[in-house]
Amino acid sequence: MNSTQSSGPAVRIENLDKYYGSFHALRKINLSVKRGERIVVCGPSGSGKSTMIRCINRLEQHNGGRITVLGTELNDDVGNIDEIRREVGMVFQHFNLFPHMTVLENCMIAPMIVRKRPRAEAEATARRYLEKVRIPEQAMKFPGQLSGGQQQRVAIARALCMQPQIMLFDEPTSALDPEMIAEVLDVMVTLAAEGMTMICVTHEMGFARRVADRVIFMEGGEIVEEAPPEEFFAVSRNERTRQFLSQVLDH
């Protein structure tokens, strides 16, 4: 199977169902993401947005429907899961950097042990991406010595070092102090401009307006609305979307 085939959508989700015990977290989600497309997912907390993107790299196991990533279907086949995870990078709300490794080692470990790249090549790649997220001088520090914004940029670099085809962002700025949000968003904007396929769960509506091709609004485990940003912010058809937007935009 060739995961790098360039035809077909990057991610296709069909009739996705997810339960936590008896709680129905995702209800018949349908979503198709084209290569190079930038999707912003928003919605009130508990609406299932994080759960949905965590299903895409199998951090959550779905209970019904189909998820196809880069032409490979996500099922119980461990080989498929590993293949997809290599091609899908993820950035978490709480960074999840490895605290026992330096910044550089954080960026080198996966390319070395997962992609089996030689150390020198992995280091060169790591330094290049640290440069890209504008913290090359922090390479030898440990994550605990960096600010939140710096840590999140390292986390982005770490994901990019695997040279993924798709990037998932799970509320990447929600745990940051306000003055650090911009530095992380800047990096994400640059990434978007380079044509990376991105699915971002975020409440940063300015970011959505600037880079998203489509904005998706979720509530109660369902996709309630889906529209290009200009349309989404100007003429939302849905009452619940308008209410949510007024809450996040008016402050």
Partner: protein
């Protein structure tokens, strides 16, 4: 207008002492009384251990017994029994070399420079082979000495090191099995751990040494020494497994998720992400467990092995030197102290080293 604030000068050492111990007349009195008691005890001890003690064997046991102080002659006369037990006298240099081997091997593997799979394996492989050949002989023109004749410090070190060497990996396996997602695996492992922990070590040693041979076929029994080591390793691993599990619980769930999202396999996640952090969390309790294991080696006397404490017992014996048991036990206590204290200091070094990346 700017105000310049100057910190009050730190009190000098004498001033500090005065404030702490001689602030009021009553406090001064209590301090002086305590000081007098301490000086008295120190003087008594020093007098016993050094000033009135006998150090040479020239006078024999009688002269030594007559002396007011300690009789260190017993150590000079019997140190070989304490250190080497029943090991044949002419061959005791081998036992001494074996002790040195264990100490060197342990020291090397404690050094960060040796923390790669290949180097550690090399150190332990050579060390173990060297120890075994030295102690057992039968090859290279060395006289054969069976395990039943091993004793003293060499035996204590051997039991301790092999217990840890077998018990530690076993503990990690048990801890991993216990957090398995399959309930029948995790529950069974939990049951085994709890069962072993609820038994006294002595009963486990006794079972492995004496009862097991009835249950096992001849070819599977091995020497009693190795069965005893297995029993003690099992006991060690049950406790250590819970320590490791505690360490694992201290690693945030996001760590494993991040490793998964990067495509790492189960063993890569365990080996590179989970265990290094878990062991850091578990380090103080782990060192504690090692110290306990070192001291518990003395229990093998119950199944007939002459480790250092039992050898000491034999050293003062029932003959000429039987009055000098305190000196022998003080000597053995010093040996224990050297090993356990080094272990604790090494633990402190590791903690300092590992806290570099702490948030």
């Amino acid at each position: 207008m700017e105000m310049i604030v100057v910190a009050p000068p730190a009190p000098g050492r004498i001033e500090d002492l005065r404030r702490r111990f001689f602030a009021t007349p009553l406090q001064s009195l209590l301090s002086l009384i305590s000081l007098a008691i301490m000086v008295f005890i120190a003087w008594k001890l020093l007098n016993w251990a050094i000033f009135s003690a006998v150090f040479t064997t020239s006078g024999g046991p009688e002269a030594c017994q007559a002396a007011a102080g300690a009789c260190w002659s017993v150590i000079a006369a019997r140190w070989r029994i304490i250190l080497f037990g029943l090991y044949p006298f002419e061959e005791q240099w081998r036992s001494a070399l074996a002790c040195v081997t264990v100490v060197v091997m342990t020291t090397l593997s404690c050094m960060p420079a040796f923390w790669t799979g290949r180097r550690i394996a090399l150190v332990w492989g050579t060390g173990a082979a060297l120890y075994y050949v030295l102690m057992k002989g039968g090859v290279l023109g060395l006289l054969y000495v069976g395990e039943e004749a091993w004793g003293g410090l060499a035996l204590t070190l051997f039991i301790f090191v092999t217990t840890c060497l077998i018990g530690f990996p076993l503990a990690i396996c048990l801890a991993l099995l216990r957090r398995s997602e399959l309930p029948w695996i995790s529950r069974t492992t939990g049951l085994i751990i709890d069962a072993v922990r609820s038994l006294p070590l002595i009963s486990i040693l006794f079972t492995f040494a004496v009862v097991l041979p009835f249950a096992l076929p001849q070819w599977l029994q091995g020497d009693k020494l190795y069965r005893v080591i297995l029993g003690s390793a099992l006991f060690f691993s049950a406790y250590q497994a819970e320590i490791v599990r505690g360490g694992m619980q201290g690693v945030p769930k996001g760590q494993e998720e991040a490793a998964m999202a990067l495509g790492m396999s189960y063993w890569q996640r365990i080996g590179r992400i989970l265990l290094p952090q878990a062991m850091r969390n578990a380090l103080p309790a782990t060192i504690n467990q090692f110290v306990v294991a070192f001291k518990e080696t003395s229990l093998v006397v119950i199944v007939g092995f002459f480790e250092i404490l039992a050898s000491g017992n034999a050293a003062y014996g029932t003959g000429d030197w039987r009055f000098a048991y305190v000196e022998v036990y003080v000597f053995i206590a010093l040996i224990y102290f050297v090993f356990v204290f080094s272990l604790s200091r090494y633990g402190a070094f590791l903690e300092r080293r590992m806290s570099v990346g702490e948030r």
